[in-house]
């Protein structure tokens, strides 16, 4: 089982290849879309590369869930309700929702996809 740092370095290399970014930009708290410029099609590319580089299987929607918030009860005034936050926690157990929960604006959901989230996800897969 590789160390946390080893996983981070490999995730870093994965994102350098997938997104064509510089290694120094791939910090742990960098967001995939906002900071690293990932577009929707890049998410699938990242999934392919993580599978190949770590020898893991990533079922569809497990790392990057689709249609997380579909129920109208989960959103009010552009923000997630308590029910919406619970759903998000359940669907994205590897994301750090601490700061997001204080201002659960739906527009900020994309910011939950960080480099560290990928590291946490891969760590859990390798430990399983």
């Amino acid at each position: 089982m590789p160390t946390h740092d080893e996983i981070y370095q490999k995730v870093q290399a994965t994102l350098v290849d997938a997104l064509g970014v510089d290694e120094e930009d791939v910090t742990k708290d960098a967001t995939l879309q906002g900071d690293l410029g990932a577009e929707s099609i890049d998410f699938l590319d990242i999934v392919f590369r993580l599978e190949r580089n770590f020898g893991i299987k990533i079922p569809r929607g497990e790392l990057f869930p689709e249609n997380v918030v579909t129920d109208p009860d989960m959103i009010k005034d552009g923000k997630l309700t308590a029910k919406g936050l619970d759903e998000l926690k359940a669907r994205m157990p590897y994301a750090d929702l601490g700061e997001f929960a204080a201002n659960p604006d739906v527009e900020r959901i994309g910011d939950l996809y960080t480099v560290d989230m990928l590291v946490q996800y891969v760590s859990s897969k390798l430990a399983a």
């Binding site: 290849d17 997938a18 099609i41 699938l44 590319d45 392919f48 599978e51």
Partner: protein, 184 residues
């Protein structure tokens, strides 16, 4: 002009590998513009040929049920140029295939030397969504392009029939280059 950037399949192993050729001729308009007096195949069209070879490989692996589009080219390296009169050989290996899309490693060779090394990423589009956003002309494989694969199948069947006819009349081995048969 037809948007077909491969001339013929030499080999087609379902879900694994495809080899196709592209002959460059001065009858192609683009060579006169790229560049005047120095006709070389544009790198983007070499990538297109590799993507057509790979797109058919990916599409065929799913029985052409999925609509396949070229989604991304994460890496493309070129080591030379191809001129009028040259024949490019495209070799494409399917490295990843899943419900959402596929990745291929694609290489172009000129006289046995590596000319281009490209990674191509294809996405599978949901049928209903695809119909709204893309017309059939946007797809990696059109009916015209699929005709190249059909032709290879027909040629392969003809060769098999010929080999069978020769072997039934003579015990001598059949001469000539052997190609692995495309799926029938």
């Amino acid at each position: 002009m037809r948007w077909i950037w491969i001339d013929k399949f030499l080999e087609f192993r379902s879900g694994k590998f495809a080899r196709a050729i592209k002959n460059l001729t001065l009858a192609e308009e683009h060579l006169h513009d790229h560049y005047p007096g120095y006709p070389v195949m544009p790198a983007s069209l070499i990538i297109e040929g590799l993507a057509q070879t790979g797109g058919i490989l990916v599409g065929e692996a799913g029985g052409f049920v999925e609509k396949v589009v070229l989604a991304k080219i994460p890496r493309a390296e070129f080591f030379g140029v191809a001129c009028a009169g040259d024949q490019l050989v495209y070799e494409v290996t399917l490295t990843d295939l899943r419900a959402e899309g596929a990745v291929v490693e694609a290489k172009a060779f000129l006289e046995g030397e590596l000319l281009a090394d490209v990674e191509i990423f294809f996405a599978h589009l949901d049928n209903s969504r695809a119909n709204q956003i893309f017309g059939p002309k946007n797809f990696v494989f059109t009916q015209q392009l699929l005709g190249v694969l059909d032709l290879a199948k027909a040629q392969s069947r003809a060769k098999e029939a010929e080999a069978l006819a020769v072997s039934s009349t003579s015990p001598a081995p059949v001469n000539g280059q052997s190609h692995e048969a495309p799926p029938s």
